[in-house]
Symmetry: none
């Protein structure tokens, strides 16, 4: 009995392993060449499996990318949601938290992030199944709601458009990551990444002009000190 069980277990895990191997390879090739530039043959070669096996695990090229996206995206989104909907934290904390989630994702798997950025965030409207594009837009909408609530609570300028705030924040994060992805920034050390993360959140919150707010200056510095952990709220008087 245990034999049988272990057999099916092994089979299951081996199958999953294969599947993951192919998914992994797909992520890498997509990241390197983009969806259109990558051929199934590349993925198969990268994964070290036969051509046809890709089709054993995925219906077609499109489903492969779809899966790549879903896999990477769903975790990201749920983590994001946890941050955005945490009732106990301030807007500042949330913004820092969002940056943290994004940069953490990049730290863990830069290539996957690259795929998400390149193939999901932007791409011609008609091209893809709704879901992909939608996934990204939904994320922005979710954040927009976060900003709406913050505005109602007086934590956000009254004259700021929440939807636009969400767009700007993600735009800044994304381009900040792009700066790393694209090699615009040479120093890709963990420290540089950490600094970038803090700067993004802080410039979004307090702007880039000098001496704007003393309090924020403080929290900015604090932020740098507590980097790598979930940011504690910097209290403004």
């Amino acid at each position: 009995m245990s034999q049988r069980q272990s057999k099916s277990e092994e089979a299951g895990s081996r199958e999953n392993e294969r599947r993951r191997t192919i998914l992994r390879a797909a992520i890498d090739v997509f990241a390197r060449k983009g969806y259109h530039g990558c051929r199934i043959a590349d993925v198969a070669r990268e994964a070290g499996v036969a051509y046809g096996l890709v089709y054993h695990y995925f219906k077609n090229k499109d489903e492969l990318l779809e899966t790549v996206v879903e896999t990477g995206w769903s975790g990201f989104v749920s983590r994001l949601r946890a941050v955005a909907e945490d009732e106990s934290s301030s807007l500042e904390q949330k913004v820092h938290g969002i940056a943290e989630v994004a940069f953490e994702a990049y730290r863990v798997d830069p290539r996957a992030v690259k795929v998400l950025i390149l193939e999901v965030a932007r791409s011609p409207a008609g091209t893809q199944v709704v879901s992909r594009q939608q996934a990204f837009l939904d994320t922005i909408r979710m954040s927009a709601e976060m900003f709406s609530r913050a505005q109602a609570a007086g934590e956000l300028r009254a004259d700021a458009d929440p939807m636009l705030c969400a767009s700007l924040l993600f735009g800044a994060i994304e381009m900040g990551l792009t700066a790393f992805v694209s090699g615009l920034v040479e120093d890709r050390s963990p420290e540089a990444l950490e600094r970038a993360k803090v700067q993004i959140a802080n410039s979004f919150l307090h702007g880039v002009l000098p001496g704007a707010t003393t309090s924020s200056e403080v929290s900015w510095k604090q932020e740098k000190a507590s980097s790598g952990t979930r940011p504690k709220a910097g209290k403004r008087s």
Copy 2:
């Protein structure tokens, strides 16, 4: 003589007209379907010319995109450069100016902007001729230098990385535009566009938190008043 001249002139202008027709069509189709999703046949049909004629004016599909980009980009970049390197204006003015240039481009030709955003800003590294990607990165580098100079002049927080500032600014602008391009924002009226432009510049400069700086509050309002024209400097004490 004048005949001949006018003949070649006419021919020249007719030729140019054809060329422009095709370019125009290419922009529209690229914007609609993306570079990979569009076929030469689509461009020809859109332009109302014969299939082969596209190849009479452009060496190949890639050159077509290249030309689209150059045409749209070069004007954009030179206008950007004028703003960024204007010795007489403050950083605040420059940032507002950059947003203005970007939004003006969108106002004039949203589809062209869409192509630039989708096909130029992001796309797998190896895919394209250096120039395209490079063009975008160069723009960011130019802006980074602007931020460097401003930092030296004390106009920018000392602890902000100029390159990152440039990335964030363009990221915010781009995603702001994307919000319009992608239909995330319903209200695409000139006023909404104008408001978005101001908000982007101001949140970049002063952050989104409420009551941050009185002075910026003032310039924010001023900005709204002078919208649509090249921004005059909002003086900070």
Copy 3:
């Protein structure tokens, strides 16, 4: 000892059973989708066995069809031969007998007949192993000989070509069955089938024109009366 024997016997019968299950499934799927339109996977699914097991029992797809054909065909042919070479019966009896054999086969297993008709009787010459096509042609040749002998005995018009007679008879029978197979005829009741069988034999023998021969008219009616059993000779004066 008996244990061992029964073991291998059981195994043998179980094996045979499996084999037959697969063969049965193959017939059904071939009948439904045709040889080319069906995949091994279809056969396996229909049989409720694992993919690879089909290859345990049959060398390849072609052998599968070959076996289907042989199995169905050999019985058919030997029954046909028995009728055609029965020295004691008249040509009329033989023709009725042939129709009976064909329709009986259809009654017993219409799907198998469909496969034989679709995949064996007609199919491009070069496509298949000789045997399949050959099998069908041999049957016609055998019947042609029957007609030859009948002609020598004065039972067949002197100016009729025996080979052509055989072709016509089988063509009529086959298309008659096709009318049922293809749904051209709605009424597929046993009675309708019986009537069709008689009509085929009789029109082949006496033609379709009215009042041709009194005697045949008689035998025609008699035929209808004795339908369902091996036809007794209709006496010609």
Copy 4:
């Protein structure tokens, strides 16, 4: 003007010529290997054109076959209809006429007939677009109506099923032709063909038994005499 006209005319004819060349090649290859056995590459090679050109003229493989069928079939059907619905001729004449039409088609283009027989008449139901199968069945239905009318006029045995009569006639014709197509009959001379045609019609009408009808005997002989021309009515007393 005439230049232009001739130009487009030439182009039209050249285009049509190409199209026809490919169609011709398709017929030949289909006839040789059948639909499934033939590759687009074969057709292109046979036609002496580039691979892709086939797709310039035909949407895909299926449309190619569809066109082959339509082209060959429509003419056949209309000729058949003319015979079947000719109010002035007797059933005998009509049957002979139908055989004549079929054999004439074979004489003109045996390969096309082979394709029609192999790919249209029989093939699994689900496989093809309705039209193909339907085309054949419609032809039989049309003939069935002819037999119905004849029966009402007393020209057909009262106890014969018209639909079955139609099936039998076409079955006999088709298998008769198959005997030639498949090489079952060695003598493929025009005379042999002619004889076969007459025998088919006559055995269908009067049966194969000897001495059945004096009158028919006469018409049978007459038939042979007038072979090659549209059969004149053999009067029955």
